[in-house]
Each structure stands twice: as C-alpha cells, then as structure tokens.
C-alpha cells in the first residue's frame, strides 16, 4: 500500500502550486484556478487521512463533499465577479484592478 506521506507530499505540492498561481498569475481567472487547486489539495489531505487513520467513520468523505460544494459556489461567485469587472473595466488583469488603493 502506498504510504500516507506520499499523499501528503502530493497534496502539499499541489497546494504550493495553487498558492503560487494565486500570488503570481496576473489573470484573474488563473487566480481562481489557483484557488481551486489549493482547495483540491485540501480535499486530498482529508480523504487520505480518513482512509488511513479512521476508515470506519465517514467524516473525511463528508468534509470533502462540503468542500466541493463550497468550491463550486465560490467559483460561480468568482466568475460572476470577473465578468462584472470585465464589463466595467475591460480588463481582468489583477494588477490593473487597483481601485482599492488610496
């Protein structure tokens, strides 16, 4: 059986890639994709811990499903925001959306 740590390393790598994407990409959609990667990294962790530590109870799977649902909602809202921003500013480059600046 594949040791637990492999999953954890995979999840950590995936999270780091997502984080990097969020922080480094300029396209707002790409940032959303990065967020999705980070969420899914968490999901891997949840499922892996459930399977290896406490397979009798369903908690890990239930959490993963809740995260899916939240992620789906989040993407819907995020994309709506992106479209709305695009309509008013004709751009979705994060660096140029600096209206919150003093």
């Amino acid at each position: 059986m594949i040791p637990l740590s492999w999953y954890l390393i995979l999840a950590a790598a995936l999270f780091s890639i997502g984080l990097f994407g969020v922080l480094a990409r300029r396209n707002a959609i790409a940032i959303l994709l990065g967020v999705e990667l980070m969420l899914n990294a968490v999901n891997i962790n949840l499922v892996a811990f459930w399977r290896y530590l406490n397979p009798i109870q369903m908690t890990g799977q239930v959490f993963a499903i809740i995260v899916f649902a939240v992620a789906a909602a989040e993407v819907a809202v995020g994309l709506a925001l992106v479209i709305s921003v695009y309509r008013s500013r004709k751009t979705i480059v994060a660096d140029e959306l600096d209206m919150m600046k003093w």
Binding site: D95, L97, M99, M100, K101
Partner: protein
C-alpha cells in the same frame, strides 16, 4: 331687612353700576346714566332708612348698630371687618347720600344729555358744541353731549362706592380702602379730559400730593395695629386702650403713642382735605371736567379727610380733658387748621375763576373744622362739616350752572376765546338765571355765616364760641379774620357774577339750565338753611330752646364722655355777626362798580400767585426730584456707577477671554492638541500610504507572510 344687612348693602349698588357700565352698557348713554342714577338712588334710599332707624334708636352712642365678619386669620385671632353706624356715621351718611345722589342727577344735565353729538368733539376733550340747521336754513350752535358720557357715570359710581365704604366702615383698614378708592377716582376724574395737558398735570399732582399724606396715614395705621392689635374703632376707643396709649411715651417730641399715631393719621387728613402744606392739589383739581367733579373733590371727598380726623378724635385727645392745655399733637392740628383757614381765604380774594374761588374757600372752611378738632371742639367740627358739605355742594353746583349758562352764551356769540369761568366776563346773571342766583345767594350767605337763618352761621358761630370759651385766643382771632375774609370774597363773587350789568355779550345771552341741574340746587339750598336749626345752642338768646339742640345730644353720644354745653357768651356772637355782615357789606361796596380786573385793587401778585407755593414746591420738591432722577439716578447711578461696573466687568471678561484665547486656546488646544494630532495623523498616513498598493495579490502575500510568522511562532510556543 335688618338694619345691619342694609348697612352692608349701602355701598354696593354704585359699585355694581360701575361694573355694569364699564362692562356692558358703555355704548348706550341713556342706559348708562339710568344704571348710575338708579344705583345712587338705591344707596340714597338705603342710607335714609338707616339714618332714620339710627336716630330712632335710644342711646345709639353706647350701643351703635354694628356687624362684622371674620376676614383675615392673624395667628390665633381673626381680623374682623364690618360696618358701624354710630351717631357720627349716621349724620355723615345723611349728607353723603344726599350730595352723591345730587351729583349723579346733576351730571345728566351738565354733561348735556339729550344734545346732539358735537361737530368735532373727541374723547378726552371738552365738548365744543354742535351746529344745527333749523327749518329756515339758519345755522345755530347748541351744546353737544360729552363724548365719554358713560365713562363719567362709571367713575362716579366707583367714587360713590369708596365714599360709602369709608363712612360705614367700623375699622381703619376698610376705611383706608375706601379712602384710596376715592383717591384713584379723583385722579381719574381730574384727568377726565386727558387731552388737555393741564388736566393731566393736575391729575398727577393731586395723586402725588395726596399720596404723601396717605403714606403717613398708612404708617399711622400700622403703628396703631402694632400697638393695640386691632383696627376696629370700638375696640380702640375704650378707656383702657386709650389710657395705655396716652401714657406710653415715644422718643419723638415727647409725644405719647396716642399723640404720635393721631399725628400720623392727621397727616392723611391734611393730604385728603387739602390743608396747608398739602393744599396745592385742590385748586388744580378744578381742571376736572365739571363742577360736578370739582364738587366731588371739594364738598364730598375732602370731607372724608375731616371725617377721618373726627373719627380719630378720641385718639387725638387721649389724655386731654376739657379746659386743659392742648397736647403737642392738638396744638399742631389747631395751628394747621387755623393757619390754613386764614391763608386760603387770602388767596381766594384774588382769584377770578369762579371755581377756584370756591376751591380755596373749601380749603379755608376745612381749616375751620380742623382747627376746631385741634382745640377739642368735637361737635362744632362735625356740625360745620355737615353744614359746609351742603352749602358748598350747593355753591359748586351753582357755579357749574353759571358756567353752563355762560357756555350757552359763548356758543351763541361763537367767540371761543371768552373764558366762561372768569367772573369778570359775567355780571348781571341774576336776571338770566334766577333759580341759580337765588340758590347761589343762599349758599353764599351760608358760607359767609349770614346771621340766624343760614346753617353756616350756627356752625361757624359754634366753632368761634368754643375757641373763645376755652381761651384759645390766637385760634379765635385767626378764625374770626378768616371768617371776615370769607364773607368778603363770597360777596365779591356774588357781586361780580350776578349783580350789576352784563359785562360781555356772552353774559347777556346766558341761559337758565335744565331741571336736572336746578332741582339739586333747590334741594341743597333747602338744607343749607334748615340744617343749621338742628344745632342751635340752648343758651342762645331768644331762639335758644325753641328747637332742642338735637345735634349736640345726638352726635355728642358718640364720645365716651358727652361734651358739656357751652355757656353763652356775647363776645363770639358779636364777633361772628360783625365779621359776617361786615364782610358781606364791604364785599358789595368794593365790587359793585368794578368792571375789569384792572379796577380790582386786590389783584396783588402774591395773592394772585397763591403765596408762590406752587413755585416754591416746584423749586423745593419737583425740580430736585427731576434733578435726582435725571442727574443723580440716571447719569451718576445708572450710567456712571451701574453701567461703569457692567462695562468694567465686560472689559475684564474681554481681557480674560482674549488672554485665554491667545495663550491657551490658540497655542495649546488649537496648535498642539488640535493641529498637532492632525499633523501627526497626516504624517503617519503619508508614511503608511505606500502599503496600500491596491493590488490584491500583494495583500495576499503579506497576509501569507504574517500567517507564516504567527503560525511558526504559535507552533514553536505550543509544541515546546
């Protein structure tokens, strides 16, 4: 109805009339005088009933008709007010009721009721007459009705209320209330033609002058109350109270408490009855619209002053007995009375205004009464008070009738420069106004003391006899001279007004007055003769004893000790005969041929100008008062001291304020705290501003950094 209840009710009809007229009927002249005259008639009727019940009562002096109700709680006891009819009040009520009723009736005619409204009459000014056009198109002038006719009756009603209240009161307090109501009414009536400046000034003068007396009187009342604890006449005039009051000494002039109180109350009488030195208001009061109001002042209201003096007689004479030397207070009273009698008579000699002569004659006659009070001649004072009220009322109404007739003449000729009150514009009126002439003659002879038939003779003779019998020679001589002058100026007045030939066209066209004016004259003339007969001394030769000396018996009963009858003495009788007849004869002799003031040898400036008392008072009191008000109070006190303090406070405050502003507010609060905080915040803001890049990813990076730092810190702390 019980007599007590009736006495309570006597003063109220005129008061009711006052309110009715003021509140409801003042637009309707006929209704107003109906209400006024009706009220006066009711009070007259009540007074007559009370008077005749009173004289029918045995020993009224010891057991007067009285009733009282508790009024003010004073600690444990009650201050009671009530009514009292003793012999004195009864006889005074008799003449008051008559004169007041006559005034009301006479006013109807005098104020031209029934005449048309004037062409250009205005409220507050005398009526100027109205133009009428007869059938043939001729214009002629007739007298016009007084514009404020209703108001006049309202004031008369209030006045009557005050007078009745004063007479029927059983205590000093309600008496003083009536007294002050009359003071107010005299002010209102003198200033009735308020459009005239002289009337306004006279009203204020009368009010202020009597106020001087009233303040002293109030002090006397307060003193009396604090000394005895009561103001009721019957409670004060008992032997025990009077004995205590007369034996307690005061630090002032060695007078007893009784003497001092009597003196203070007497000063009230001096003000009200226009005695020297407070006499100046009465002649000016002739500015009042009519002889009616003049008569109110001269014949009725001023009598109230003497009435108050007579009421206080037991207090005045406390500790004194018949034949003894006068006390200090009595001496002062006698001096003021006698002096006033002579002094006013001299002024009356040189006056040309028919009303002013009578005004000074009133002052003089009141002086007779006051002097007789001062020498302890109680009954003589009361007797003269009443006879004088009748004949002086008669004379004033007669003079009003004369003026009215003259005004008729003035309207006829249309020459408004002719003064209808100046006696030198008259003459020969006996043929034009016969009723007025004969009644005026009776009044004038009564005033002069024409022997035997007139009332004035008996009362004046009694005063002189009393002064002689008790050895007050100075008073006797002064009063005798005053009586001579009285007869003289009275005859001067009659001669100038009625005898001889008319001196002006106006006098030729004078006219007899309507019946509302002549009936009161006749009624009063009746009393001016007959009232003397009730007081003929029993020891008088021939006539004495035909009629009993009812007056002496009756009024004497008011006092605790009945005054004894005087022995008859020929000297005062001869004196009064001589002065009366002599004065009348010389008056006729001197003035029968006088045509103009230039021929009148008595028009000397010092008499003409009333011994310069007005000027002296102006210099002594009025000018200093103005100076005090304007220079001292206004300039020095107000603008100098008070405003100075205020301005000083203002300046100090302004200085303090600017110091606080400059050195604390501006420097510390504004600069350091206020602006400093702002600058610090701004500086900090400037420094922190670059942090806010507005780039979401940088924020996220920063929060990641913080997360890592905090997380690692927590981790290292918790895992240890």
């Amino acid at each position: 109805m019980t007599t007590e209840l009736l006495i309570w009710l006597i003063p109220f009809p005129p008061l009711l009339a006052f309110f009715l007229i003021v509140l409801f009927t003042n637009r309707n002249k006929a209704l107003s005088h109906d209400v006024g005259v009706g009220a006066a008639a009711l009070s007259w009727l009540g007074s007559m009933v009370v008077f005749f019940r009173a004289i029918g009562t045995e020993h009224l002096g010891e057991h007067p008709i009285e009733a009282s109700i508790p009024w003010l709680p004073t600690g444990e006891t009650w201050f009671r007010i009530g009514v009292l009819i003793d012999p004195l009040a009864a006889v005074v009520l008799f003449f008051v009721a008559f004169t007041i009723f006559m005034i009301f009736l006479y006013s109807v005619g005098y104020q031209n009721f029934g005449q048309p409204i004037g062409d250009h009459d205005r409220p507050g000014l005398p009526p100027h007459g109205a133009t009428l056009v007869d059938g043939k198109g001729r214009k002629y002038m007739v007298p016009s009705v007084e514009p404020l006719y209703s108001r006049f009756f309202a004031f008369l009603g209030l006045f009557a209320f005050g007078m009745y209240t004063l007479v029927v009161s059983d205590n000093l307090l309600t008496m003083f209330v009536g007294w002050e109501i009359m003071g107010l009414c005299s002010y209102l009536l003198i200033g009735f033609w308020y459009g005239k400046e002289s009337a306004r000034d006279a009203a204020i003068k009368a009010f202020m002058t009597t106020r001087v007396g009233d303040v002293f009187m109030l002090m006397g009342i307060a003193y009396l109350y604090s000394a005895t604890g009561t103001l009721s006449f019957r409670a004060i005039f008992t032997e025990e109270v009077l004995h205590v009051l007369s034996t307690t000494a005061t630090p002032i002039l060695g007078m007893s408490v009784a003497g001092l109180i009597a003196l203070l109350l007497f000063i009230g009488t001096v003000g009200k009855s226009a005695q020297w030195p407070l006499h100046v208001w009465l002649p000016d009061a002739m500015e009042g619209p009519t002889p009616v109001s003049a008569m109110i002042h001269a014949a009725t209201m001023v009598s109230a002053g003497v009435y108050a003096g007579i009421r206080m007689f037991p207090l005045l004479t406390a500790g004194w007995h018949e034949g003894a030397a006068l006390t200090t207070t009595m001496g002062i009273v006698a001096f003021i009375g006698a002096f006033t009698a002579l002094f006013a008579a001299t002024i009356a000699l040189a006056q040309n205004d028919i009303k002013r002569v009578l005004a000074y004659s009133t002052i003089s006659q009141l002086g007779f009464m006051v002097a007789s009070l001062g020498i302890g001649a109680y009954i003589a004072a009361v007797f003269h008070l009443i006879t004088h009220a009748f004949f002086k009322a008669l004379l004033f109404l007669g003079s009003g009738s004369v003026i009215h007739g003259m005004e008729h003449g003035v309207l006829h000729t249309g020459d408004h420069k002719v003064d209808p009150q100046d006696m030198f514009n008259m003459g020969g009126l006996r043929r034009k106004m016969p009723i007025t002439f004969w009644t005026f003659l009776i009044g004038g002879f009564a005033l002069s003391g024409f022997p035997v038939i007139t009332a004035g003779f008996w009362s004046k003779d009694e005063i002189l006899a009393d002064a002689w019998a008790n050895g007050h020679l100075a008073v006797f001589v002064t009063l005798a001279v005053a009586a001579f002058l009285t007869a003289f100026y009275t005859m001067r007045q009659i001669t100038l007004t009625f005898l001889g030939e008319p001196r002006t066209k106006e006098a030729e066209h004078a006219q007899e007055t309507p019946w509302t004016m002549t009936v009161p004259l006749m009624v009063l003339a009746f009393f001016a003769i007959t009232y003397g007969w009730v007081g003929i001394p029993e020891s008088f030769p021939v006539l004495g004893g035909i009629l009993p000396n009812w007056f002496h018996e009756f009024v004497g009963g008011t006092l605790l000790e009945h005054p004894p009858f005087l022995e008859f003495n020929i000297v005062p009788l001869l004196t009064s005969l001589a002065v009366a007849l002599g004065g009348l004869f010389f008056g006729w002799l001197a003035y029968r041929g006088v045509k103009s003031p230039a021929q009148d040898r008595l028009q000397i400036p010092v008499l003409k100008n009333k011994w310069y008392f007005d000027e002296a008072y102006d210099f002594l009191f009025v000018k200093p008062a103005y100076w005090f008000a304007e220079t001292f109070v206004y300039k020095w006190m107000d603008t100098g001291l008070i405003d100075g303090i205020l301005h000083g406070v203002g300046k100090v405050t302004a200085f303090l304020g600017s110091a606080i502003r400059n050195y604390i507010d501006k420097l510390i609060i504004n600069e350091f705290v206020g602006d400093g905080t702002a600058r610090l915040t701004q500086w900090l803001g400037d420094r922190l501003r670059p942090v806010q890049t507005g780039r979401i990813q940088q924020y996220m990076l920063a929060s990641l950094g913080v997360l890592i730092v905090v997380g690692s810190l927590l981790f290292s702390l918790l895992m240890r």
